[in-house]
Each structure stands twice: as C-alpha cells, then as structure tokens.
C-alpha cells in the first residue's frame, strides 16, 4: 500500500478531459474582477463556471471577465443560470458554444425562483437535445438517484446533484442520496450548490464525489481569497480521507492506549 498519495497524481476525467483540481468555482457575485481572479487563483480551480449575457451596447469598453481570467488557461464552463425552459437553456448554450468554441457546458433548468430547484422534466428534455447536437453537458439536478440515472442514460457527461438550494450555504442536506448517486453513476458526480464552508466541501468528497462546484460560499465570505484557499484544502482533505477508508463507527468507547502494563 502506498504510504502517501500525491494529490497532483489523483486526477479525474470528464468527457475525455483530465483535471487535477476537483474544485470548480463560480465567477458570480464578486465585488470586483480583480478579487474574482485572486480567488480563482487561490482555489486552484482549473474550471470556472460563467454565465452568458447580452453585451453592454452603450458601453462596450467595460472590463470583461476574459481580461481577468484567461480562457486559454482556465476552462470556461458556460452555464444556463436563469433559464426556466429547455428551449431557453438550449438557445443559451448554442450561443455559448459559438462564443467559446467548445462543447463542455453546464446545464441547469430551474423550476421556480424561490428555491431555484431544478425542473427535472425540462432538464432531461434539454439534455437529450444537447447531446444530439454534440454538446457534452454536465447537468445540475436534484439529489435523486433515479433522476441521476435517467440523466446519465440521456448522455450527461457528469451528474451534479445539489447539496442544498443554490446560494443557501446550508451544507449537504441528504448525504444518503448523494452517496446513492455516487454508487450508481458511471460518470463523474459533483456536488453543485449548497456548500457553505470548508467542512461541507470535505463532506462531499468523503461521500466519494469526484468534485465540488461552488460560488457563493467563496464570493460571499468576508475574505473570499482566504475562503478559496480553505476550500482547496478541504476538497483535497476530503478526497484523501475518502481514499484512505475511514474507521468503522462504534457506539461505545474503545481506548487508544494499551490496557496491559497499567501501573
């Protein structure tokens, strides 16, 4: 058995692309593009999620995200945030593919504004169409092992169940279903949404997830760059703990020091 594991050698692969970092970070809600770039750097993330929006026609000289986070060095994962129908999401991703020139995308089709829970019927429908059009969708979904299986069968390249509602910071609400999804999946599983602090990210990794995606937990921390560093460490710690195989839980104490030879 290897005594220690080089975390850099512990890679994961989605749609034929291999990454070292298991942390994907969002780029929304930051106070400035500078702070955003510093947080991405501290997180060690190799993939960032981005939104697709109308350009500002009245002021085209405004600084752009691509000036601060280089799409040649960091993989941009375009999302469909704000889309409530399969059609809107597909239209958004067609534009994203044209703007960025790649097929790897994050699909999310929301059901309502209050919870931002995914609409799974629309999500599944959009997945089927996108796959036919050559996209490689990583799909945000409910923490439901059956829905996860259906998405995989439809061609999702990664399953991304929510730990808790988007932006809530509540942490993983249902460890059992996240674990069931991990056990049933043949594609990477990443907890997407609900992470609030480092222990939540570590927990996702301890459950055997391939990665974690978060935005608000870092962007809304008082010190986002420091929290990004914490999340990097938490994801690595959780991953190592998962690989190491935790001890069995007992209902009663079991002394760590030998009982023999007591004075």
């Amino acid at each position: 058995m290897t005594a220690q594991r080089d975390i850099k050698a512990d890679t994961w692969t989605v749609a034929g692309r291999t990454f070292t970092s298991r942390l994907i970070v969002g780029t929304g809600k930051y106070k400035s593009l500078e702070e955003n770039a510093a947080a991405v750097e501290a997180s060690g993330a190799e993939i960032v999620t981005v939104a697709v929006r109308r350009v500002n026609i009245s002021d085209p000289t405004q600084p752009m995200l691509t000036d601060f986070i280089d799409p040649k060095k960091t993989t941009y994962l375009p999302n469909t945030a704000g889309c409530f129908t399969a059609e809107d999401a597909i239209r958004t991703l067609r534009l994203a593919r044209e703007a960025g020139g790649w097929n790897l995308v994050k699909l999310e089709v929301l059901g309502e504004a209050k919870t931002l829970y995914p609409n799974m019927r629309e999500t599944l429908r959009a997945t089927e169409v996108l796959v036919k059009e050559g996209f490689e969708p990583m799909v945000y979904c409910v923490d439901d092992p059956i829905a996860a299986k259906q998405l995989e069968e439809a061609g999702a390249v990664a399953i991304m169940p929510l730990g808790a509602p988007i932006g809530s910071g509540l942490g993983i609400q249902n460890r059992v279903t996240i674990r069931l999804i991990v056990e049933g999946a043949n594609v990477p599983v990443l907890v997407d949404a609900g992470v609030g602090t480092a222990s939540d990210a570590a927990q996702a990794m301890e459950l055997g997830c391939d990665g974690v995606l978060m935005n608000t937990a870092i962007a809304e921390a008082k010190n986002p760059v420091l929290m990004a560093q914490a999340m990097k460490a938490a994801v690595e710690a959780g991953r190592l703990a998962y690989l190491s195989g935790r001890m069995q839980k007992r209902r009663y104490a079991d002394p760590s020091s030998p009982l023999a030879g007591l004075i």
């Binding site: 969002g26 780029t27 929304g28 809600k29 930051y30 593009l33 955003n36 999620t49 981005v50 939104a51 697709v52 929006r53 109308r54 350009v55 026609i57 085209p60 000289t61 752009m64 995200l65 691509t66 799409p71 941009y76 375009p78 999302n79 945030a81 239209r91 067609r94 534009l95 994203a96 593919r97 044209e98 703007a99 960025g100 988007i166 932006g167 978060m214 935005n215 608000t216």
Partner: protein
C-alpha cells in the same frame, strides 16, 4: 429600407438605425465589439464566427449579441 439607405434593426432589444449595406462583422466593429469575444444570433439563428464577414445585415433584423460574464 428607408430612402437614405439606412436599415432599421434591433440589437439586444434596442432599436437602432445603421447605414447599409454592411456585414455583421462591420456592424460589430461599428458597435465597438471584438468579434472574437462575442457570439451573435440573428433572427434566432446563430451566425457562425467564420461567416460574420459574409452575412449581410438586412432591414428588420433582430440581433442578440452575448458574451461571458461572472456566474455560478
């Protein structure tokens, strides 16, 4: 098209008048946008980047021009 040769179009929901004839690439240039950083939809259809020079802007066209912004 009006008598002066100008075209009435919509860009991201706003009405504009531009002088024709012009290509989509020329329109982007006039708007101060870098074609390599945006994606263009014309009347609900993507205009592939490689064809921006050859597709002409026509009277009544409806354009959506998008780029990447911060998001989760």
């Amino acid at each position: 098209m009006s008598l002066d040769g100008s075209l009435g179009i919509r860009v991201n929901g706003e009405h504009r008048r531009v002088m024709g004839p012009l290509s989509v690439a020329e329109m982007l240039n006039e708007l101060g946008l870098d074609p390599l950083r945006v994606a263009v939809e014309r009347n609900l259809e993507i205009v592939p980047r490689g064809t921006l020079d050859s597709v002409c802007v026509e009277d009544g066209d409806d354009f959506e021009i998008v780029h990447f912004v911060g998001g989760g």
